[in-house]
């Protein structure tokens, strides 16, 4: 099983591709990734799992993160600002 990698897109912007993962791993992996990032960083989480698209924003907003969700081509891009 391959570990989903946190990829740097540009200065302060990162993506985490958790496509193919079922709950709760998109949520857990998003939280672990955010712990590694500096204040002000942007993390884009990409998922194709509808329950995760529902749950990850709920979980992160509860923790005080700003979250926006965009859907395109059957995938959700959950953009989180730390």
């Amino acid at each position: 099983m391959q570990e989903p990698k946190l990829e740097r897109k540009s200065e302060g912007e990162y993506t985490l591709d958790v496509r193919g993962q079922t709950c709760p791993f998109p949520q857990i992996l998003s939280q672990l990734a955010l712990e590694k990032l500096r204040e002000g960083s942007i993390l884009e989480v990409i998922t194709d799992n509808p329950p995760s698209a529902r749950d990850v924003p709920i979980a992160l907003r509860k923790k005080g993160y700003e979250v926006e969700v965009k859907k395109s081509n059957g995938q959700w891009h959950i953009v989180v600002k730390k």
Binding site: M1, E3, T22, C23, I28, L29, L32, A59, G74
Partner: protein, 494 residues
Amino acid sequence: MEKVMRFMGRYSLGRDNGMGSLHFLRIKIPGGVITSEYFKGIAELSREYGRGYAEITDRQDIQLHWIEGDDALDIFERLEKMGFTTDMCGQAFPGAGHGDVRNIVGCPLSGVNKDELIDGYPVIKELTRFFTGNEDFLDLPKKFKFSISGCMYNCTRAEINDMAFIPVVHDGEIGFTVLAGGGAGKTLPGPTLAKPLRVFLSQEEVFDVAVATVEIFRDHGNRESKAKARFKYLLDQIGVNGLRNMIEKKLGRKLEDYHGDVSREWIEHTGVGEQKDERYYVCVPLIGGKLSSDIMEWYAGLAEEYGTGDLRLTTFQNLIIVNVEDKEGLLKELGKEGVVLKGIIPKWTAVGCASDFCGKTKEYHSKEIVRDIVEHLETSYPNIFVNQDFKIGVSGCPNNCGYSVIASVGLEGRLIRVNGSVKQGYDIYLRGKLENGSIGRRVAEGVPAENVVNVLNKLLEQYKIKLKNESEIRFVDFLEKLSDTEIKKLVEVT
């Protein structure tokens, strides 16, 4: 991260959509076999994380609700220590794929059953170990369901599994024959009873045939759409002979023919029964499989005091304490808490799905209807159904997790419009059966939920009238003989 990676592929949370729950945890209990120590361990998990509630499913799992994603790693770690894993819940993905092998069901009395030809549990354990976390089998077109039972009775609903191994004697040798391509849900080609593969297998051959079949499903199953992704669709395309040829090619040998009878009586191991070692089993009827953490600990304690601490879960959502010597003592203890092991058989055999948590029913959910039907039968017909059974299956939707389409009386949830408002209704199916099986026929659509027990009562009242002239006729036979006109009149809601 290492801990997270360790759990991937073996643990998951499923999506809930009702009762304020976002996630369920479906713990696989292979063959329904569990010790009191682990039953208590799961009771603790339900208390700490699941609001003190648990339910036994009709695939012998234990399911908890209200699980938070933040607690998942702790829960998985504790399950790992007990040796349990979960379903992978890939069904939420929009397309075909992410399917896994689900909890393998078996006779809940395996190893102690007086009516057992062969113990199917060892191969259940072997296959569970093989498939769990195996990356080669985590992206099937859809889920795959096995039944492996050595019981002379059909206590696992074999015909509704993708593949079922049932015990037979062939030329003096005890082994298994195989049924393939069953499924109760509405995905193509619709509700289907598994067909005989007409092969005889020794116990040692079961593992290879099971693995070969899942490989065939993985490599040849349809991935165009979810509607075509179940194994029954593939079998519909290739036929049983086609499947057999593909299995034999994989194994590199021909399988032995078997043309004997495959039909067995569909039962639950109800009440108190004698085991082959002259000890007893005690089957507790749980309506809808519902338990609290306190009750789970109580039953675990009773299993330790009166048995050997061994418990079994059944496909009718009931709980069995095995290896009991002092059955009278146990019955007395159960009686103190109002658990009575006498009465109508449907109290053990009626099944309802978790439609309340799925969010598929608006109100008057499947398990509530099961409870009310059983109560009505106990109150109004207490003597008639003590010695005869009829299967009641209540599902919240066409996925048919409550097996409505194979029940004698089946209910399938559907939302209806009444005076401009959306309300809960149920379609009614009659005459489903597994012995010389047939899928039930829908006789009424969209009956308002509050009328369902009345409709059933009209059928029962007519049956009571019939009994005056034909005292031996069973309710299931009465249903078979009703004409379409008679049925229409009886199920009409005014």
